[in-house]
């Protein structure tokens, strides 16, 4: 072991006990070790922040709801919502439903291209922008994505939304999975054959429609989301001829 190797080892762990032969004959490395041990003591003191009196969760309350282990949500989202707010939410949902029907259900013939339609549809879908940690039920997932379309499970990513949606006159699986930077929209388009990848881009999001055999897959995420791994997983999962 030479000085460089020894210092790398000590830098990674000042309590490293190898290299005894070297350090016993190297005064500089002995000094370096002392420095690193002193530094570590200081790091340890700095990391040991004061711990406040934590409010432990009430076990009575938890026990009363112990069947819903999968439904633990953030504390702030469990706070009560005032009645007036419920009415506002209901009105918003109705308005969103109206807009969705108006723009997606009826008026899809007005889109100039598949890319335009896919991008517009992704913007109007509920859950497209809200991060979630609640996975969609397996039954729902398999109903929306039958095994002849793709073989999916939650190992592909946390799938939080799965519905059948109209794109170019066909009912197609529309999924939302949770990426590192937020929700990622996936549309499986087994009947949309394209000759080359079509980039999707707007102010807040980016993505691509990828040619996959006789069909294609649309993937859209926020601008800073890396989509390559998701693309790879979904391309591998499709069951139509590739």
């Amino acid at each position: 072991m030479n000085c460089e190797e020894y210092r790398e080892a000590i830098g990674a762990d000042p309590h490293f006990d190898g290299g005894a032969g070297h350090v016993s004959e190297c005064a500089a490395c002995q000094e370096y070790r002392r420095e690193m041990l002193a530094l570590d003591a200081k790091i340890k003191s700095a990391l040991a922040i004061t711990v406040p009196e934590l409010e432990l969760p009430s076990l009575d309350e938890i026990a009363a709801n112990s069947d819903s282990a999968e439904n633990v949500v953030a504390l702030d989202s469990r706070r009560g919502i005032p009645t007036r707010a419920w009415f506002a939410i209901a009105a918003t949902v109705l308005l969103a439903a109206f807009i969705g029907i108006r723009y997606i259900g009826i008026d899809n013939s007005s889109y100039q291209s598949l890319a335009e339609e896919v991008l517009a549809h992704s913007k109007h879908e509920p859950g497209a922008f809200e991060p979630s940690d609640k996975k969609v039920a397996d039954d729902q997932l398999y109903q929306v994505v039958p095994s002849n379309i793709a073989e999916l499970d939650h190992s592909t990513g946390l799938i939080t939304y799965a519905e059948t949606c109209p794109i170019s006159g066909n009912e197609v699986p529309h999924l939302i999975i949770q990426g590192e930077r937020g929700p990622i929209t996936i549309m499986l388009l087994p009947d949309e054959k394209i000759s080359e990848a079509i980039p999707l881009d707007d102010e807040n999001s980016h993505g691509v429609i990828l040619p996959v055999g006789d069909g294609s897959i649309a993937i859209i995420g926020s601008r800073d989301e890396k989509l390559e791994e998701v693309q790879k997983q979904f391309v591998q999962s499709v069951m139509w001829d590739t």
Partner: protein
């Protein structure tokens, strides 16, 4: 009667585990998210998760890594939900600044600020090693890294802290 005894045993077991490790849970969470208020939320959520999946912990001697893994996941979930922006040390919220404000010793305060500014990739293995007593193998498991990557990160983290502290000393 049997059922209520089982409930009582379960509670005792949980309270013992949490009683021993809640400080580690909080400190780990605080250094992951660098915000005291968020750390408290993350720890509370982690405790709920731990309570509900207590049966998954077969061996109480493994409670510490089990709890810290839950904290790590809860922290990630919290940030997925909130989509919080990265922290600028010159523009901290009160809750973020509280993590740095409590140190009366200038030297330790400087060290704490230097750790605060380390990249997440370097800060987390350092916390696990120095504060939690993890071996490099255990850090690799916890973070899903190869041991070589952990060694490199730890070496770089210390080198960075050493440089910062030397600069502070010169100033």
């Amino acid at each position: 009667m049997q059922s209520s005894n089982a409930d009582l045993d379960r509670r005792k077991r949980f309270e013992q585990i949490v009683g021993v490790f809640h400080q580690d849970m909080y400190r780990y969470a605080a250094w992951l998210c660098r915000d005291k208020a968020i750390a408290e939320d993350v720890v509370q959520e982690s405790m709920l998760r731990a309570w509900k999946s207590l049966e998954a912990l077969r061996d109480d001697s493994a409670a510490k890594p089990w709890l810290l893994t839950i904290v790590r996941r809860e922290n990630a979930r919290y940030f997925e939900r909130k989509r919080l922006e990265t922290v600028d040390i010159d523009n901290l919220t009160a809750s973020q600044a509280a993590l740095l404000a409590e140190e009366p010793d200038d030297d330790l305060g400087d060290m704490r600020a230097a750790i605060y500014e380390l990249d997440d990739d370097y800060r987390e293995p350092l916390v696990l090693q120095v504060l939690m007593g993890y071996s490099t193998n255990e850090i690799a498991d916890q973070m899903g890294l190869k041991q070589g990557a952990v060694l490199t990160r730890l070496h770089r983290a210390r080198a960075k802290l050493k440089d910062v502290m030397q600069e502070q000393a010169i100033q």
